[in-house]
């Protein structure tokens, strides 16, 4: 069992899902409120990681993070390190490829709030921020939890993009899914099995929790 890889995977998944909470929520809120001409295109861009082969996405991200690129050179000038093949680079890539898993459930739950509920809050004297925190956020909570869990689980299990961006550096970018692949290639089936079982258990537990939670919320939220 590669505990170092487990640690990298867990930190990456946790950081990614925590970063996606404000990022995903901001994008979802903006999309839920606006109805502009290019909305379909913006939604398509956000959903793209869902349908694109991970290697293709990984390739573009690798090019985008290279030391010749704007982002890569900026990172080098700030930290003196390369963005590609680093944990930070991997984190950045994870946020991009898990974005649709965060935005879609948040967007659906925000869109499901009837506009009159929001207007009733304004007419009750609640400011837009208060309305967001006291009305919209609690009502969208099931979608937000789903978004968090899905982006956590998805990041934990990602393989292609991680391989392209992070390479396979122990303690830095070698995640559990890469370690499993390494073990299988090296015929260490016992190790591959225990790591796979851990990923399976985490995925199953988190998804079960989401379904249970959402069912309970749905019972409360029925008007």
């Amino acid at each position: 069992m590669d505990w170092q890889a487990f640690e990298v995977s867990m930190s990456l998944a946790l950081l990614t899902c925590l970063s996606l909470l404000p990022i995903g929520l901001a994008i979802a809120y903006f999309l839920a409120k606006s109805n502009f001409v290019g909305r379909g295109f913006i939604e398509a861009i956000i959903t793209l990681p869902l349908v694109l082969p991970p290697t293709v996405l990984g390739y573009f991200l690798l090019v985008g993070m290279g030391s010749d690129s704007f982002l890569g050179s900026l990172f080098v000038s700030l930290t003196g390190q390369s963005l590609a093949f680093s944990f930070v680079g991997l984190w950045f890539a994870s946020v991009i490829y898990s974005l649709p898993f965060a935005v879609q459930p948040m967007l659906r739950s925000l869109e499901s709030i009837a506009p009159e509920i929001r207007e009733a809050a304004w007419c009750s004297g609640l400011s837009k921020w208060k309305t967001f925190f006291k009305i919209e956020l609690p009502l969208a909570w099931p979608g937000i939890i789903t978004a968090m869990v899905l982006s956590f689980s998805h990041t934990l299990g990602e393989f292609g993009v991680v391989l392209m961006i992070g390479g396979n550096i122990a303690g830095e970018t070698r995640t559990l899914s890469i370690a499993i692949y390494d073990s299988v290639v090296a015929f260490e089936h016992q190790q591959a099995q225990s790591m796979s079982l851990i990923l399976l258990a985490i995925a199953l537990v988190t998804i079960t929790l989401v379904y249970t939670f959402n069912r309970k919320q749905a019972r409360v939220a029925v008007l």
Binding site: E119, A120, C123, A221, V222, L223
Partner: protein
């Protein structure tokens, strides 16, 4: 006092002018899509017209000329939405407390008082989905009143409840309104509801307010025939004014009808006229009276409907090419006179009650 003037050409035409005194209930009536809810939304600040002026209690909420546009939060409006729009994740008490802006220690007491006012004591801890439609409406009213609003806006508040509950809520609203000293605007498409609950009616059609006045005035003395049609006046006919035996009379087919008030009209003019069905008088068959000389007409009963003690007759009037006239009379009068379909009766049109209108 609330004063509202709204004008816009897009997205839908709006040409609205209305006013509502404090303590007065003004019903905004009109068919679906007439712009009633848009007017309420403009008053609440949820949308803005292209031009207009909205002021309440001396405060200007909206003035397109002066570029004044207050937010819904600044306007102190109590709004009851059509589907009540209660916050589903909060209890009854939490729904109300959220709209209270007094200091926190007084919150609970004030909330309890509001719930007592709308007869909902004991349901503080329930969630909206655990309440009936009528109870939800009461919570919505209590929440709207919680802010101590300067105007109360009710958007079709009875459309989501059944008929029995609706009757109960009418009575409750009548009691409640006596305790309120703010302008109340009630949007409805139900004229009976409006006439029962409101002090004044404002008819709106295709975004334009046609007439504002007391229910009696709007329903029985509409300004023109378009309004008469909007308020579903039951006897609307057309005729000509003629000079007959030295007085101005209405020539209706072969009849010369006497009218009490013809001011503003002249001989030869084509006019419309209306008469409330309750102002058509049945001539007693056994005992003739003096009133029988007032615009007497003979007609055949072609339909009879009884509803809550009132019998509505549809009469085919003689010498009118088969025009139908409606008359209402107490059920016991119809019974005592032995009225039946197919019988011919004689009636009088009360000259005082005939109302002339232009196109």
């Amino acid at each position: 006092m609330l004063k509202v003037k709204l004008q816009q050409t897009r997205p839908a035409l709006l040409d609205v002018e209305l006013s509502c005194e404090k303590g007065e209930v003004l019903a905004l009536v009109g068919p679906s899509g007439a712009g009633k809810s848009t007017v309420l939304r403009c008053i609440a600040g949820l949308q803005s017209p292209q031009h207009g002026l909205i002021s309440c209690k001396g405060h200007t909420w909206f003035d397109s000329d002066e570029k004044v546009k207050q937010t819904p939060q600044q306007r102190r409006v109590g709004m009851v939405f059509q589907n009540y729009a209660l916050f589903p994740h909060l209890t009854v008490m939490e729904n109300i407390k959220l709209a209270l802006d007094s200091d926190k220690s007084a919150h609970h007491e004030h909330g309890k008082h509001l719930l007592e006012q709308v007869n909902l004591s004991g349901l503080e801890q329930r969630y909206p989905h655990q309440l009936s439609g009528g109870q939800q409406q009461r919570v919505a009213i209590a929440r709207a009143l919680a802010r101590q609003p300067e105007v109360l806006l009710l958007d079709e508040p009875f459309s989501a409840v059944d008929k029995v509950t609706r009757r109960k809520l009418y009575l409750e609203l009548n009691t409640l309104r006596r305790q309120l000293d703010m302008p109340v605007i009630l949007v409805t498409h139900d004229l009976d509801e409006a006439a029962m609950l409101a002090d004044s009616l404002c008819v709106i059609h295709q975004g334009v307010t046609l007439q504002q006045g007391s229910p009696e005035e709007v329903l029985f003395r509409p300004d023109n025939v378009a309004i008469a049609r909007q308020v579903d006046a039951r006897n609307v006919f057309s005729g000509h004014l003629v000079e007959h035996e030295n007085t101005l009379k209405l020539k209706w087919y072969e009849h010369f009808i006497e009218i009490a008030s013809t001011s503003g009209f002249r001989a030869g003019q084509h006019v419309y006229w209306t008469l409330s069905p309750s102002k058509v008088l049945l001539h007693q068959r056994v005992r003739k009276s003096r009133g029988d000389h007032e615009n007497p007409l003979i007609g055949t009963i072609c339909e009879m409907v009884n509803l809550r003690g009132i019998t509505t007759l549809i009469l085919k009037i003689e010498h009118t090419n088969g025009i139908n006239l409606q008359m209402d009379l107490p059920e016991h009068v119809a019974m005592r006179n032995g009225l039946k379909i197919g019988e011919t009766i004689s009636v009088s049109l009360l000259a005082d009650a005939i109302h002339l209108m232009t196109e």
